[in-house]
Symmetry: C2
Subunit: 294 residues, 2 copies
């Protein structure tokens, strides 16, 4: 029973990408002190914006195969999905190159490397997929079919999705067995939660009856703000145990990480002084425990 987690919320800008990237990286690399073993992880970038790819400094070149080609290949053709993946050595090179580019006068931190993380990248061509898939056979389960041959190669698969409930996100929810919902601690985000839960129930009935809620993560929590406190307490009131204990604060170190081209869990040590890294490692720990409990 594999762990395939779709990181989804139709609300824009609630930290889907930031959460998918940091969770995938911390589960892949592990942390002995926190009791998180390393594991082989695949991160899939299913958003045409390609922000998950950018998070590792990966150049979104148009001449490499991406998840778009995988989704659009004629059924039955035997594509080797490994040809589409970017492995840990290249991801490490890209992160280090990007970090050096943005911080000319600094040494590259030793922590800035991955050994067990693979990325299935995307680029702008993916934005045509929604309309192109609309009339194709099995349009909702293309990703699930494409992943079938490699399911046993990875311990965890994490999918970043665009801010909508269109065919790309439906493909992710059809392929996943778990859904992780990031909710920013702001008012509009609260509004969209009941809509999202209704949509998940619909997907469970019509597309994938194995899909379960992995958890709801409160993100961008502004410390000492009445609005954030209000939203967090509403979310815990409605969703109880499903809400992670770990809350991710709004911090400049998290917003700045994409510019350096590396996840904050690698850029900074999870110490008291680096609350962004510390909290995302805490979320990884809680996720690891939820996965083990299954």
């Amino acid at each position: 029973y594999k762990t395939i987690i779709a990181c989804t919320n139709q609300k824009g800008g609630c930290a889907k990408t930031t959460t998918a990237v940091n969770l995938a990286t911390s589960l892949a690399e592990g942390n002995a002190k926190l009791g998180i073993p390393p594991s082989k992880v695949l991160l899939i970038d299913l958003d045409p914006q390609g922000n998950a790819s950018t998070s590792f400094g990966v150049d979104k070149r148009l001449d490499v195969p991406t998840v778009y080609e995988l989704l659009m290949q004629p059924t039955g053709e035997d594509l080797n999905i490994h040809d589409f993946l970017i492995g840990p050595e290249i991801l490490t090179d890209e992160m280090q190159r990007s970090f050096k580019n943005m911080n000319q006068d600094q040494r590259i931190p030793k922590r800035l490397k991955v050994e067990n993380l693979y990325l299935l990248p995307s680029n702008i061509r993916l934005s045509g997929a929604e309309i192109e898939l609309a009339t194709k056979l099995g349009r909702e389960t293309r990703l699930r079919e494409a992943l079938a041959p490699i399911m046993d190669d990875f311990d965890h698969i994490i999918i970043d999705t665009p801010p909508s409930l269109g065919l790309l996100t439906i493909n992710a929810l059809a392929a996943a067995n778990w859904i992780l919902v990031p909710v920013q601690a702001e008012y509009y985000a609260l509004e969209g939660m009941s809509q999202l839960m209704n949509s998940i129930r619909l997907i469970q009935r019509r597309v994938n009856n194995h899909l379960k809620l992995f958890g709801i993560a409160v993100t961008m929590y502004t410390p000492r703000s009445k609005l954030s406190q209000f939203v967090e307490s509403e979310v815990r009131k409605h969703f109880g145990e499903d809400v992670f204990q770990t809350v991710i604060p709004r911090l400049m170190s998290i917003a700045e990480a994409p510019k350096d081209g590396a996840p904050v869990v690698l850029l900074k040590n999870p110490t008291k002084g680096n609350k962004g890294s510390k909290q995302y490692w805490a979320l990884a720990k809680e996720s690891h425990l939820r996965i083990m409990k299954r």
Copy 2:
């Protein structure tokens, strides 16, 4: 030559709704001191999340006609679009009711009213429109057709769009003659700009050759942050005069306004102490000058 502005960017959470709501409200109500005359404005909520409707405390009931019914009506049927609009009296009632609800111990501010603003609301039913429209005749110009009979009733029409370049946003860009692009002062948002500009050129060629760039507004600017300074300078370098002088700072007063159910330009006076309201009124002033210059 009417002003129809689509507020669009496929990047999620960059303040499309916040900008559309505050611009529509300030252009509608006007401000004599700033030299902005009042005008009759229609705000269209074309996002299934219905956040523009929520911004006025409007209950998203399922029993009222919304933009969804307008888009899906069989062509040729004569619907009276006025039946779908929420007028200034009801908007004022909803704002005041919502403000009272959230602030039991405070008097309702006298400024909390509109006289010239109309809203075409949306609700979750709209999320089915993308797939349902995909195979319909004239799927890209449904909104433009529906608006044709009322074009002369309004001075300005402003359309809030979802975070994608799907059929809903294409409908907005087909109906509009101008596009306003909010860009948050963060790294991923910068990345998406060149993609967005390419898509606009495609729309201009294939769907609406009248569409022009109205302007690019830098939002959520964190004062004294190197990241925000970097993004703003990059945007001005690439887009020059198209970028509004006015920059909207990241402020709690703006994030809290939706909870009170009213735009920040009405909740707070545009004084030095209320930078959120002040900057959105400044953006309205700049927009008014761009409209006059045409």
